[in-house]
Amino acid sequence: MVHLSWYIFLSAALFSIGLYGVLARKNAIAILLGVELMLNAANINLVSFWRYGNNALMGGQVFSIIVFAVAAAEVAVGLALVIAVYRSRNTIVADELDLLKW
Amino acid sequence: MEFLSDPIKVIYEWLMLTFTGWSWAGWVSSLVINLLAIVGFISAIMVLDILLVWVERKVVARFQDRLGPNRVGPFGIFQPFPDIIKLILKEDITPEGADRVPFNLAPILSLGSVLFLWAVVPLASRIYGVDLNVALLYLVAAGSIGTLSIIMAGWASNNKYALLGAYRMVANMISYEIPMVVALLIPTVLAGSMSLKTITEAQSTNGGVWFVLVSPLGALIFLIAAIAELGRSPFDLNEGESEIVSGYHIEYSGMKFGLFYAGELLHAFTFGGFVAALFFGGWHGPWAEQYPLLGAFYFVAKAMFGYWVIMWVKYTVPRIRIDHMLAFNWKFLTPLAFALLMVTAVVHRVLLDVPTWLYVAGMFLSNVILVWITVEVLRAQARREREAKASAQLAAAD
C-alpha cells in the first residue's frame, strides 16, 4: 500500500526543487517555472489529504481547482510583467533589474 | 446468438478460459486480454487511417472533376499501400541545427494525440474502450497534447518558416478551442454527464432525441470549431503554400512527415465521429441495441458522413486571412457560443419536467430566436458601417 506520507514526501521534494529554481535562476521566466512547481506541490498535498481523509468532503478538490485558477492568473500577469519589462529594459535577467537598488 | 448480441463479452470469456487453462493468474490474463484488445483496436484504426488516404484522394478528385487514383487495385483502393512503402523507404533527413529529441518526439505525439481520443469513443452499445466519466475533458486534454506537438515541431526544426507556421497554427488552435469547449459543454448540460457513453445513450433511451434537434446551433458551432482545430481549409493558413511553404512540418521527410499526414486525416475522421456521437445519436439506429456490430457500422457511417462534410467544406471554400480568422473567432463565434450556453442552460433547467415534445420544441425555438437576434445584430452592424462609409464619401466629395 502507498501511505499518505509517501505523497507528502514527494510533494515536499517537489516544493524544495521549485524553491531552488525560484532562488537560483537568473531568468524571470525560469523563476516563474519554479513557482509553478511549488504550486503543483501544494496541489499534490491537497488532493492526497482529500483522498486519505474523509473523501465525502470535497474541500480538497475544490481547493485544488481554485489553485489552478490562481496559477493561471499568476502566469498570465507574471508573464505579462516579464514582457513589459523586456520591452522597456530589453532584458529579463532578474539581477540586472535593479532600478530600485541603491 | 450470443456472439451477435455481445461479441466483446464472448471473445473475452473465451480468451479468459484459454489463459486460465494455461494456469495464468487471473489479473495477468485480464491484463493480457486488455492489451490484446488495445493493440487490435489501434491497428484497426490505423488500417482505417490508411484507407482514409484513398477516400480523401478519391473525394477531392471528384470535387475537382478528376478521376483520382485508379491504377492499383479496383478503383485504386490499394493506392495507399505503395504510398506507405515509399514513405518508409525514403531517407529521413534531420536538418542541421535541429533539436533532435523534440524534433523526433513531435510527429509521435502528433499521431499519438489523435489515437488517444479513440480510447473513450463508444463504438456501439457494448463495444467501447473505457467509459470515462470525464471523457469530454479528456478529449480537450488529448487535443492540447496535439497543440504542444505542433509548437515542438516548429521550434525544433530550426527553420523560420516552420516556426512561423507553428505560431499561426497554434494561434488558430488555441483560439478555436474556446468555442469548441463551449460547444462540448452543451451536450454536458443536456445529458448531465461528461461521459460519451451516457451522452450517446441520453439521445435514445427514455424518449431522448438526437441533440442536433435540441441544439442545432451547438452542432454547427462544434463543426466550425472542429474544422478550425484541424487546420483545414478555410482555416489552413498555417500551411499557406505560397507564403510559408508548408507550415510547421516543412523540415520533416519520410515516415515522420507520414505520421503528421496520417494524424491529420485521422483527426478529421475522429471529429466526424465526435459530431456523430455528441449530436447525431452515436451508434443509435434500427436494431442497433440488439446487434452491437450493426451499431458500430452505424457509428462509422455517421462518422464518415461527418468526415465527408469536413472534406466538402475543405475543397469548396478558399483560405481566409489570419486577421479575419481571429476576428471571426473572438468577435463572433466565442460570444455566440457563450450566449448559446447560457440560453441552453436556463431553458434546459426550466423545461426539465415537461413532456419531451414540448422540451424539444422549446429548445429548438430558443436556438432559432438566438440565431434571429444574432442576424439582426449583424445587420445593424453592417448598416452602421455602410452609413459611416457613405457619409465619409459624401464628406470627401464636398
Binding site: 500500500m1 502507498v2 526543487i17 537560483a24 531568468n27 498570465a76 508573464l79 529579463i92 539581477d95 | 521550434w155
Partner: protein, 166 residues
Amino acid sequence: MTAEQIIFFLTGALILVSALMVVTTRNLVHAALWLVSTLFGVAVLFASLDATFLAVVQVVVYIGAIAILFIFAVMLTRRNLLDKVPQTNAGWPWAALVAISAFAGLVFLVGQMPNAGAQKNVVFGDPLMALSMALVSPDAYVLAFEVASIMLLAALVGAVYIANRK
C-alpha cells in the same frame, strides 16, 4: 511490491527528475518542455488518487495553456539570453542550501505528523458528481466559484493592459 507502489515510484521518479531538469537546464524552451513532463507526472498521480477530474484538468490547463504561454513568452524574449551562458545567479549555492534545509525541515515535520501512515479510505459515492455539486451548491463553495471568475477577469484585464502598454 504491489502494482500501486510500482506506479507510484515510477511517477515519482518522473516528476522529480523532470523537476530537476526544469530548474537546471540552460535552454529555456527545454525547461518549459521538462515542466510539461513534470506536470504530466502530477496528472498521473492525481489519477492514482482517484481525482479523475483534476487529472484531466491538470493536462488541459497546465499542458494545454500554461506551457504554451511559457513557450510563447520564451520566444518573445529570447534575443539576449543565449542558451550557452550559465542560467544561475551568483548566489546559487545559498539557494541550494535553503532548498535542502527546507526539504529537511519538511521531512522532519512530516515525520511528526500523527496520521503519516494512513491508508486510503474507500471512495465514497461518485466523487465527480459530489465535486460538481459542492462547487455550485449555495451551502458549499459557490462564493469561491464566483470569486474565481472575478479573479480571472482581473487577471485578464490586468495582463492584457500590462502586456500591451506602449
